[in-house]
Structure formats: C-alpha cells, structure tokens
C-alpha cells in the first residue's frame, strides 16, 4: 500500500512540475536571469510555483508534525539537524552552479526522462555519477578517519 501511495505522490509531483512549466529549462533559466528584470525579460514563474507549493506544504507539514506518527508508517523520518555546516553550504553552492548551467534540478531532470531526449539522459547519468562519486568519497574519508586497527 505505501508503495502505491509513493507512486501516486511521485505522479502528482511530476504533474505539478509539467503543469507549472518547471520541466522547461528556458523557463527556469528565465527566472534565474535576474539581470533581465530591468529589461522586462524576466520570467517570474519559478517564484509563483515555489510560493504556491509552500502555501500548501507549510500548513500540511504543520499538520504532519502534530501527528504522533504517519498514517501508513510507524515513524516519520523528520530531519533533526539544525546547525549550519560547511558541507551544507558548499554542496548547495555546487548544486546551484550546475543548476544555473543547464536549468535542470533533480526532479525536472528525472521527469524529463519521459521525453527520451538523449541530452537529458546524459544529464541524469552524469548526475547519478556525481552522487556515486560523493558516496565513494565519503566512504573513503570515513575509513581514513578510523583508527588504523586493521593495519596493525
């Protein structure tokens, strides 16, 4: 049952991306192009999309937080950290650089796989490679940080 529900949520999310125009890289880049504001060429779509999403999700998450547990699961996976650390900011900056180069973030990139566009597929493959590279690097860092017990 939660599997079908996750499918339904993914579908709703994807429909929202397509209807709002967020799968269109030109629209996203048109929003990010703030120097176009004085020249009347700016596209405010992304700001409206985010505002509309938050109008629903802020009360929705407030409701979810008041519940002891989710409707179909034992425990809610609420993130617990509140500190601002370097990986958070450096990671967000690297992500922003990639986002600004193409106009695709992970959700629209995956939804755009439906178009069978080879450049989109290439982007998703590179994105997955970047995620894998991060995980391998983290694992190497963790094992380097451990005391060298196995090395005697």
């Amino acid at each position: 049952m939660p599997i079908f529900f996750a499918l339904f949520c993914g579908f709703t999310f994807g429909a929202g991306l397509v209807i709002s125009g967020m799968t269109d890289t030109a629209r996203v880049l048109g929003f990010l192009d703030v120097l176009a504001i004085p020249k009347d060429g700016w596209d405010p779509t992304l700001a409206i999309v985010m505002a509309a999403a938050l109008v629903v999700s802020i009360p929705g998450f407030w409701l979810a937080k008041r519940r002891e547990r989710p409707i179909l699961a034992g425990l809610a996976a609420w993130p617990t950290r509140t500190d601002l650390d370097r990986p958070l900011i450096v990671g967000a900056a690297l992500f922003g650089a990639g986002w600004g180069l193409v106009g695709l973030c992970p959700g629209p990139a995956i939804a755009n796989l439906a178009t069978l566009s080879p450049p989109v597929l290439l982007f998703v493959v590179a994105m997955i490679a970047g995620m894998g590279a991060h995980d391998l690097w983290q694992r190497a860092q963790r094992s380097a940080a451990l005391p060298a017990a196995s090395d005697g």
Partner: protein, 138 residues
C-alpha cells in the same frame, strides 16, 4: 517559450506542495528528489521499493499528460560538455548539501528548517550568478 502563465504556475506549484505534504502525512518521508534518487543508488541504502515507485510516478506523469493531448517537448539543452559538468555538479552538490530544490526548497522551508533556508538561499544565489555570467558576461 510560452508566455508567463501565473495560473498554471500556481496550480502546478500547489500540486507539488500537495505531493510533498501527502508523502509526509501518509508515509512519513521527505519528498526530496535528490535524497530519494541518491539513496536508491547508494549501495548502503535500504528501503528501495517506495523510492523506485516515487521515481516511476515522476516519469509517468509527463507521459500521462502527453497522452491527454498536450505535446511532450524535450527541453532546450546546451552542448554535451556543459551537460556533463552540470550533471556532475548537481549530483555531487545535492548529496554533499543533503538536498535540492524539493527537499530544501519545498519540504525544508515548509518545516522552517534553518539549514534548508540557508541552502535554498545559497543555491538560488549561485545559480543566479552563473546565469548572469553565462548570459551577460560571455
């Protein structure tokens, strides 16, 4: 590009917020796409089935909308070198920064997380700088 359409933007945005809310209320999971995809490919990650189902729904939605008559258009993309560099940056950056536009921008801000607010301001500002440079300085 089609002209600015605030009604479609608001309806689409509300659907995104609704999807994130439903996933949290019902399954207790954060609808962060980089987290869902990243944990799906992580060898140490578990709980793959619901993640795969969410991704399948994400890809099925444009197909369903196309089946109802609207044309399914591939987005405008730059040359392959830029695509590869950008893809690597997005993949590595979202994992290092624990989230993307959905996880930080929609879910994180919705629960008023200071980390997500800081991350969203950072990736927005850097993306705007990059576009300012590529569109107006090059």
């Amino acid at each position: 590009m089609a002209p600015f359409d605030p009604i479609s933007a608001a309806i689409g945005g509300a659907l995104i917020g609704l999807a994130a809310t439903m996933l949290m209320l019902v399954t207790g999971r954060i609808a962060g796409i980089s987290g869902i995809l990243g944990d799906l490919i992580d060898l140490a990650g578990g709980d793959r089935l619901w993640r795969l189902a969410f991704i399948a729904g994400l890809i099925a939605a444009p197909l369903a909308i196309a089946a109802s008559g609207a044309p399914l258009r591939a987005p405008t993309m730059p040359g392959w070198i830029v695509i590869v560099i950008a893809g690597l940056l997005v993949g590595f950056g979202t994992r290092l920064g624990s989230g993307c536009t959905s996880g930080h921008g929609i879910c994180g801000i919705a629960r008023l997380s200071p980390r997500s607010i800081a991350a969203t301001m950072t990736f927005m500002a850097v993306a705007m700088l990059v576009v300012a440079f590529t569109r107006h300085a090059l």
